[in-house]
Symmetry: C7
Subunit: 95 residues, 7 copies
């Protein structure tokens, strides 16, 4: 992938939204207002401190993450959609 | 549990909401606008300072806590519901 | 008491609201919009600085304090009501 | 007086509002939207820095001050009314 | 003058508002929404840093200044009107 | 080019907006609310820290970037249009 | 010129607004919502840091600059109009 996010940003590939539960029940809309799952596909060099030092990110390419439904900005690269967000908008790493 | 919250976040399992007092009286709605009780089931590594050092959390897995009714974001892991919030949103440890 | 407030928070037991002045005159509603009196029943370890050091509180358990009418969050422990607030919301120590 | 304000707060006894000018002219309402005069009757230990050091106040008990009309919180101690405000809300020392 | 402003504040005596230009033309109202001219008549000791050091002011008593029309608070001392404002509200020194 | 942006700002030449996809499909309006692509044509010296040191930018002249649709201010130089924005408004470098 | 701006402020003489393009076409109103061009005629000593050190400005008297249309405060000196603004409101130096 040929995107390099700036600073403390990461690029996230959204996981397929499961609209059915394991048992095959179709989820109502409200149930989907939950954090979303995604995979980190690119990370920035890190946050630049006030003195100009770089603080590397905690996340790594390949991490599966949870993020808030309204986090990040949508971008399209090579006709694929991604999200770009700051590491601080990522809630947790899964698995 | 296989969630690792990022930074100064914790994952909380909400305690059952007691809708009756000890004497069996059903609580009115307003009485439930109180802080909620929960149990810490996962904690982050800690807050990253401006210089990139990690400040570990005070809370530990297993702590029973009080938190504000509107704190945190709901997440679902393995079909169980949890809350993810910042340590600073936790009001107190009980017991 | 078995609550440990987090950080720079304190737990306050509200003093009985005197609805009469010493001379027995019933106070009008506006007169009650004043800061409230209470007693400190539990204190946190102190504020964690940006570098992770703990700055202990100035208040001690047993202090009688004044606090703003809208400060703090109500909590119920063992069927008794308390307020939990940050030390900075406490205006003064009395007596 | 038995109130000890917390941190960088001071307790102020409001001066009698002069409703007449020296020449005996009754002041209109707008003229009273000015800063108020008062006397410092108690001072806090000082502001606690981020590292936990105490920075003492500049004001002393007995200072006559000017403060903004809407500064501070009213408190009643021993049936007398006072104001409690932060030192930074005090505009100037007079005399 | 017997006022000592606190911290980084200055006391300003407003210059007479010229309602006519040099050529004697009466200025319209909008033209008066400009910064105002005044003279510094008293200055504070300076801003207290977070660590409690005093940073003295740049302005001196006697400086003629420009300040924003809505800056400062009006005060009356010995029946004369002044403005009290922070040094940072002063735009420039003239002459 | 004869513009030197101040501080941590960059000058960006907006890439032609592709209104058709590769397959020649005309994009609907909503699809264009995406971050925009552009090329860096000038960069500032860098951010000045609180102590007056200069922290140079990460971006270089010639970088192809993504930026938020509402970032930056439009400027016209020699009858050509550019955007001027802070480095922190740039989301990613491409290619 | 006899104005000395305070701190990190500069005094700007606005360039004549060209209402026609080179080809003589009269610009519509919207086209004028662009940053404006001006010349620096006076600069302050620089920003005072929290510790009281002076950080000199980057701009010099004589620089031709671009600034946002709504930046600065209008001042009139010797019947000429100028703008006074903070250095951070200046977008770029031209030429």
């Amino acid at each position: 992938m040929k995107i390099k996010p700036l600073g403390d940003r990461v690029v996230v590939k959204r996981s397929e939204e499961k609209e059915k539960t394991k048992g095959g029940i179709l989820l109502p809309d409200t149930a989907k207002e939950r954090p979303q799952e995604g995979k980190i596909v690119a990370i920035g060099e890190g946050r630049k401190t006030d003195e100009g030092k770089i603080v590397p990110l905690t996340l790594k390419v390949g991490d599966t993450i949870l993020y808030g439904k309204y986090s990040g900005t949508e971008i399209t690269v090579d006709e694929e959609e991604y999200l770009i967000m700051r590491e601080d908008d990522v809630l947790a790493v899964i698995g």
